[in-house]
Amino acid sequence: MKGKIDLEKFLQSRKEVLATWPTGAEVSLEDGVNYHKALPPEKNFAVKLKKVKEEGITAIQPRAGVALLNEHIALLKYLEKEGEADFLPTTIDSYTRQNRYQEAQRGIEESLAEGRSMLNGFPAVNYGVYPCRKIIEEVNVPVQVRHGTPDARLLAEITLAGGFSSFEGGGITYNIPYAKEVPLRKSIEDWQYVDRLIGYYAEHGVLINRESFGPLTGTLVPPSITIAINILELLLAVEQGVKSFTLGLGQCGNLNQDVAALHGMVELAEEYLKRFGFQDVDLTTVFHQWMGGFPQDEARAFAVIAWGAVAAALAKANKVIVKTPHEALGVPTKEANAQGLKTTRQIVNMLKDQRFMVNEEYLLEKEMVKKEARAIVERTLELGEGDLVAGIERAFAAGVIDVPFAPSRFNLGKILPARDDTGAVRILEFGNLPFDSEIREFHRERLKRRGEKEGREPSFQMVIDDIYAIGKGMLVGKPRTK
């Protein structure tokens, strides 16, 4: 690891970044730090999340963002009051995520003209620092920026100076699933900038939470791949001075696997933090309710939401990101969003004093997922020869890290996941994953069991069946009857 970016160099690049859109001129680090310090502590994401972890409860957070400022504030206030959200989001629109601020501007204008949001999120860069602060001032809980931006430097500058105290993403998790042509080195370096910025705030006494985007492509991602990537982003972040980091995992659907993966992720992350000498990091977890296809029927969607909440609560995730009964239909109404929160709240409350009981299958699952994730991280470190960024770049190029169904051409895309006969996500095609024969045999054996039950060889059709399964009311995809 190369250590923190030199302050002078960082301040130098800031000038270029802030010049890329007029609102950049509004940003001042000193003003940003002072603004955060003047905020009440209950509005600080990192502080509240640490408290949540200490209390052993699972906090709930929605996704939400619309094009117009007042509507966005009204939406967040509604989710805070009606939905009783512990943490609020500001989801950024897809044009801003691609730094297409001109198009975002057009989206704001069209939204004004049409009287409804024509963007799928809040274009924070176009609004600038002061409208962001208006959001923070109008609500009573911490607010996080959630997006999918490979180059989020300006977005981070503006929103953090604007009082947001948590920033989701990472050089891998906001590139591979969110871009097609962005080289990994570029996105990782841009995210090192973001992490350095957060490190700067930390140096000046302001704690900003960083969260990795666990779900990646959202569908059938084998947990060990998520864990490996999360750990790499954690190391990149803490290297730049990030002090509050949240590891993320998307629900797969098999309870035992989901709980084992969440616990295994934390154990392995702590191991790596210790190994690289980072001692003062607040490590927390976020669990995402199922990110793949949802049933269109709302009653069925509530079931999927509840099942995600059950896994989060039993695993004692510190936070759960909530889906809505409109999931299959696109961006939800505020009422549907609050309903998802209420269902989730009821579950996490009813389950807060219950825990997942340790059993042999769980221990095996956790052992295997750690073994797999460790193999990926270790090989990546080797490939880097002391340069983590280079290691990650090479690992992706070689398929040592490989995310299924990713749009990025910098992802090899040779692995194929499928569910086994218990619904746990296994690996059908290993591509170039650095797995030993024990691991491979484990996956093969589990998939074989399913193949035998269904009387078919595992194939791409099986994968497709799995992708559609939850939307059709199952977990393990059934062979289609022709």
Binding site: S94, A179, G218, Q296, V331
Partner: protein, 137 residues
Amino acid sequence: MKEVNLVLGVIGADVHAIGNKILEYALTNAGFKVHNLGVMVSQEEFVKAALETDAKAVLVSSLYGHGEIDCRGLKEKFIEAGLDDVLLYVGGNLVVGKQDFSEVERKFKAMGFDRVFPPGTMPEEAIKALKEDLGLI
């Protein structure tokens, strides 16, 4: 079935890749020659690919809600390029928020699309529509 070229892609700044990959697989399996442009495809790229491949149909997906902005003017570009006869399909989560689908369909048909598919459409339905519209049944 003689070779029928199709162009496939996800329009705009949209990176939803999974449905695109499945659609490619299903259309290929159904006997079409699929030219898949993947995600984040501009209007110009759709026109160019349709010209180059002599496509009989272009299937545009949009999953992230910006479909309305992204698709506006696409049919005009096809007409300009002399591709008046190429079938234009669109499908996915086309607008932000829950809207009555018949309203969405009306809107996109007015924009020049021949077929508009709601969220959750299975590949089989698109294939059936293609075969009907291309007289392949």
